[in-house]
């Protein structure tokens, strides 16, 4: 954090790049305002001392034995969707592969 819970327009640009978003100048300034408002609200979490608390990533972390929700299945080969049914959803395809703009510059 540059200041307690405030982001600058450079932060907005950096995060947009990480998120593969291209924001217009107008979107940038609105995002700056909204993120700062939300982070201002979020900053109250710092009131709590959580140094001894184990993070909870999943609901199964707090459910007792016998009720666990995470179940591993046997690692077996099973039928999946056909290539045809998947490729028909693609914006651009040659039938076997997804086609995208050039990746490697020469």
């Amino acid at each position: 954090m540059s200041e307690s819970g405030t982001v600058a327009v450079e932060d907005v640009r950096r995060v947009a790049e990480l998120a593969n978003l291209e924001l217009t100048t107008e979107e940038e300034s609105r995002m700056l305002r909204d993120l700062n408002a939300i982070l201002g609200h979020v900053s109250q979490l710092s009131e709590l001392d959580t140094s001894a608390i184990v993070p909870m990533a999943q609901v199964s972390d707090v459910i007792g034995d016998g009720q666990t929700t995470t179940v591993l299945r046997p690692d077996e080969v099973r039928p999946s969707l056909s290539r045809e049914s998947v490729m028909v959803c693609a914006p651009e395809t040659d039938g076997s592969f997804f086609k995208v703009p050039k990746v490697i510059e020469r």
Partner: protein, 483 residues
């Protein structure tokens, strides 16, 4: 063939099945009745994003064939249902309320829908919602908002606004919605219907377009508690296609509905009756609590001390998970692709910029920020630690009480446009619902009164992990007390 119209609204699941069984109605007529109601009311309400009459009538005709042959009818035989458009059905659109999935047709069907159809339900169409289920008013749908059937200038709640409004307006007998931070319970409250948040893991998420995977749940909307219990019993259960779905057996959720509340201990957390609660909502909830006491329940004041931290915790965890889940929308495999980009990177960025709406971008940005180098510990890890404190509040409370009573939302339905420019104020609409989402416990909203303006008010009943039966039993009592 008689065509039924608004009459469908008062039909229960049991009525429909026994009428088809006895031959006094047929499933095709019930289905046509719902389509007539959709034609009459949906131009004003806008609950449906797509309907599929031919497919629905084929399903209905199959039920009528079974009945004509005198064969046993499945539990949801001939029941017209609508499905929130974040759940996939093979061959049908699944927009998730987003432009980025415009034109997409899903190659597979969500398990919850497969189970409904196997139980004889008739799928009428796909229901409007906030984009990727992100919102509390349905105003974030890329296809336009849903209007509350009780007052067309008001929101239906969100994100499952279409699912709640369709049931409230008799345009389906039951619907499926999804709830990540309140998206079933809050619209159920605003539209005056029953909506269930099942325990995390109770209903398979296979075929649900993911928003926040550790929070997302699928549940039913109906006009009565009994119907909601029936639909929950159909969609619940283990699914090998969702590793987080529970192997615990599914009880008959209708079995204990009429047992009453005598002997039950019901907790009332002081934190849910603090500043910001609308006086009319407070009065309705307090009146219902007194009626439950008179009906034999023991009412216990309790404390859930970390409640005030729930909204910030939720908005960090949900957005972090969303930023990861929504990375898959990149214009390569499905959905919208921006034209004429020279490079792959430009194509990703432009497709996402044009395809996502403002709220989705805001949440992707917040989530990416919370997960980024240097901020992970301060935001994401911190939120996961507070999530455990919030869950432990409930686990402690449930050693003393069987279920917890709170308002579902701080106010009745607000006006369209009222909160769109203020994200924090919109997020606070979820203040009473996000806690159960984070803890993974079950809950529901049941209608418990109306404001002076005639707007519905919902009572939220929260239960222990996998104890939906107790919440339904209390809800049935509340429903009976309204009559």
């Amino acid at each position: 063939m008689t065509v039924e119209t608004a009459e469908t609204k008062s039909l229960s699941i049991g009525d429909i099945r026994s009428a088809i069984e006895s031959g006094s109605r047929n499933a095709v007529a019930v289905t046509e009745g719902c389509f007539h109601q959709i034609e009459a009311r949906d131009p004003q309400i806008h609950a449906y994003l797509s309907t599929n009459r031919d497919r629905a009538l084929e399903q209905a005709a199959r039920i009528d064939d079974l009945a004509a042959k005198g064969e046993a009818l499945p539990v949801l035989a001939g029941v017209p249902v609508g499905i929130k458009d974040v759940l996939t059905i093979e061959g049908l659109p699944a927009t998730a309320g987003s432009k980025i999935l415009e034109g997409y047709r899903a190659p597979y069907t969500a398990t919850a829908v497969t189970k409904l159809e196997a139980a004889g339900a008739i799928v009428l169409g796909k229901l409007n919602c906030d984009e990727f289920a992100m919102g509390s008013s349905n105003e974030n749908s890329a296809y336009g908002p849903v209007h509350n059937p009780h007052a067309l200038d008001r929101v239906p709640g969100g994100s499952s606004g279409g699912s709640a409004a369709a049931v409230a307006a008799g345009m389906a007998v039951a619907t499926l919605g999804t709830d990540t931070g309140g998206s079933i319970r809050q619209p159920a409250s605003f539209c005056g219907v029953v909506g269930i948040l099942p325990t995390y893991g109770r209903v398979s998420r296979y075929g649900l377009i993911a928003f926040a995977s550790s929070l997302d749940r699928i549940g039913p909307f109906t006009t009565s508690v009994r119907d909601a219990a029936t639909v929950l019993g159909v969609i619940a259960g283990h699914d090998p296609l969702d590793a987080t779905s529970s192997p615990l057996p599914v009880p008959d959720y209708t079995a204990d509905l009429d047992k009453g509340v005598s002997g039950l201990k019901l907790g009332v957390p002081s934190e849910y009756f603090a500043e910001g609660l609308d006086p009319e909502v407070r009065a309705a909830i307090e009146r219902n609590i007194e009626q439950l006491r008179a009906a034999g329940a023991t009412i216990e004041p309790i404390s859930l001390p970390h409640t005030r931290y729930a909204i910030p915790t939720y908005y960090l965890i949900a957005t972090a998970e969303a930023s990861a889940n929504l990375a898959r929308f990149d214009g390569v495999r499905y959905g919208f692709r921006a034209k004429d980009s020279d490079t792959l990177s430009a194509m990703y960025r432009r497709s996402r910029d044009l395809g996502f709406g403002a709220e989705v971008k805001r949440r992707i940005m917040l989530g990416t920020y919370a997960l980024s180098a240097g901020y992970y510990d301060a935001y994401y890890k911190k939120a996961q630690q507070v999530r455990r404190l919030l869950a432990e509040d409930f686990l402690k409370a449930f050693t003393k009480v069987d279920a917890i009573l709170t308002p579902t939302a701080p106010t009745p339905a607000f006006k369209l446009g009222e909160k769109v420019d203020d994200p924090v104020s919109m997020y606070l609409a979820d203040i009473y619902t996000v806690t159960a989402s984070l803890a993974g416990i079950c809950g529901l909203s049941v209608p418990c009164g109306k404001s002076q303006e005639g707007l519905p008010i919902g009572l939220q009943i929260l239960g222990k992990h996998f104890d939906e039966a107790t919440t339904l039993r209390v809800a049935q009592t509340v429903e009976t007390l309204q009559q």
